[in-house]
């Protein structure tokens, strides 16, 4: 192919953005969002893989994405609960991320 697939570019952009966010961001909520952006990049890659498989769209990566989304939702919910608790507690303390 001559022109890169726009979906591939979008997936790569999401992966790069998510990775950058995870490494750079210190605020727990931003970090959690960065993880989600990265995850969406991975899911998009899976959908691309399904499209590029010989013999048309392959259902197995689609099933993998659906499973992945379920896991991402529950993990993010737990992460948000933890972030809320952490921030409420951190108010009186240093507030920043200890390293």
């Amino acid at each position: 192919m001559t022109l890169p697939d726009p979906f591939a570019l979008a997936a790569a952009a999401l992966l790069a953005l998510g990775f950058y966010g995870f490494v750079v961001q210190r605020h727990p909520l931003r970090r959690l969002l960065a993880i989600n952006v990265f995850g969406n990049g991975v899911f998009m890659t899976l959908i691309l893989v399904a499209r590029w498989m010989p013999g048309g769209p392959d259902p197995i990566p689609h099933a993998m994405v659906l499973t992945g989304i379920v896991i991402a939702v529950s993990a993010t919910a737990m992460g948000l609960a933890l972030v809320r608790r952490d921030l409420r507690q951190g108010d009186g303390k240093d507030g920043g991320d200890r390293d």
Binding site: G39, V42, M78, L82, G90
Partner: protein
Amino acid sequence: MTEWVPVLVVFVPFLAGVVQFMAGRRVIAWWPVLASVATVAVSLWLTFAVAAGGGIEHFMGGWQPPLGIALRADGLATVMILLTAVVGGLVSVYALEAHGTGDPRASHFWALWLMLWGSLNALFLSADLFNIYVTLELVTLAAIPLVLLAGPEKTVTAALRYLQFALFGSLLYLAGVALTYGLAGSLDLALVGPALTDGGITGAVAATCMVVGLLVKAAVFPFHVWLPAAHGGAPAAVSAILSALVVKAAVYLLLRLWTGPLAGLADGLVAQLMGALGAAAILYGSIQAFRQERLKLVVAYSTVAQLGYMLLFFPMAVAQAWEGAVYHGLSHGVAKAALFLAAGNVLVYLGHDRVRDLKGLDRSLSVSLLAFGIAGVSIMGLPPSGGFIAKWLLLRASLETGQWWWAVVLISGGLLAAAYIFRVLRYAFLQAPDRPPATTGPIPPPIMALPATLLALLAIALGFTAAPLLALLGGLPEGTG
């Protein structure tokens, strides 16, 4: 009948955990006992079935892969399930007293721990790359709330950091799985190897994503930053489970992938790099363990160090290194669980675990301190103990392959381990107390002290039972090295 045993090993603890969760407030006091005994029983059944008749494979619901889910119990999976049963069973005995069974708070512990037990067994039996991802996430989602049982105000920051690293690690792993599927059109561990080897740059990127993702989950240096606070802050029973089993599950997957699908890609330089990470973990973790002021953090940093030994398999990749790495996983599992339970007893009795203030415990906590000392023997790798056998096998492998530098790491790691174990024992035994220790809790009853001692004695016993266990494990998978 035996082809159903892998299913039982996964679903007995998992469904028991679900029932415990649903029962909620109207908890049944004997349910955790029944569930733990049943899980240990089916795990032992699986062990004996595999030892007698070789590997077992089961297709869930009769569906063949790729749509169906296969459970595959080979030697490596079986020894890990056996380790989980032994450590899990004894930690459950400890938890019967430490967490109780009658009230709703205890119900949280048992529901999560039983689901974690089932998830771990499922992870060990998984035969395809995507199933491994799902079970990895199940393990994470069950393990993190367990950390919070120590009291959210103490551990929420550690749990949050644990969650971030765990999620990122598994997504990185999933990215590798996606690329692998694109190359191979399959997820079966036994089938994707050739496509990855011929995959050129894509195959290399896929392998890198999977390996780095698992390194993050295994808390291998330099990705260890989330481990000490989470393992050090959790309740003792949970710390024991996390350090002995949960991080080991990720290292187990590294061993499994490296000797299976990634065998064709295992480049000498990459293998040396993995070994270097292991060596760095051993040295850094041991030095940090020596410098910690709190007993549980000493033990937690010791986990960072001890996981490094298993990584020394990669540069050597001979049969003895394989046996040594897995055997190290087993002996570290029982010894580390003993150390954490003993440290937990100190915390119960004193109300703190500052290493400097451990004076004068030798009478009241003699059984727990004995467990700490005996388990320490295995951690240091002194004979006769499981740790010694493992290090001896690794040492022989390093000399056999002419890579003497790993022998230097092995020996210095043992010396450093002796330093941080003896530092604790010196404070606990040798210094006479100026005054009786200011205690806040009762002397832990025997039901809390004995599981630690039994685990410690098992770590020693592993020094004598190497032959049957290594026979069960089987040799290095073909095509490696």
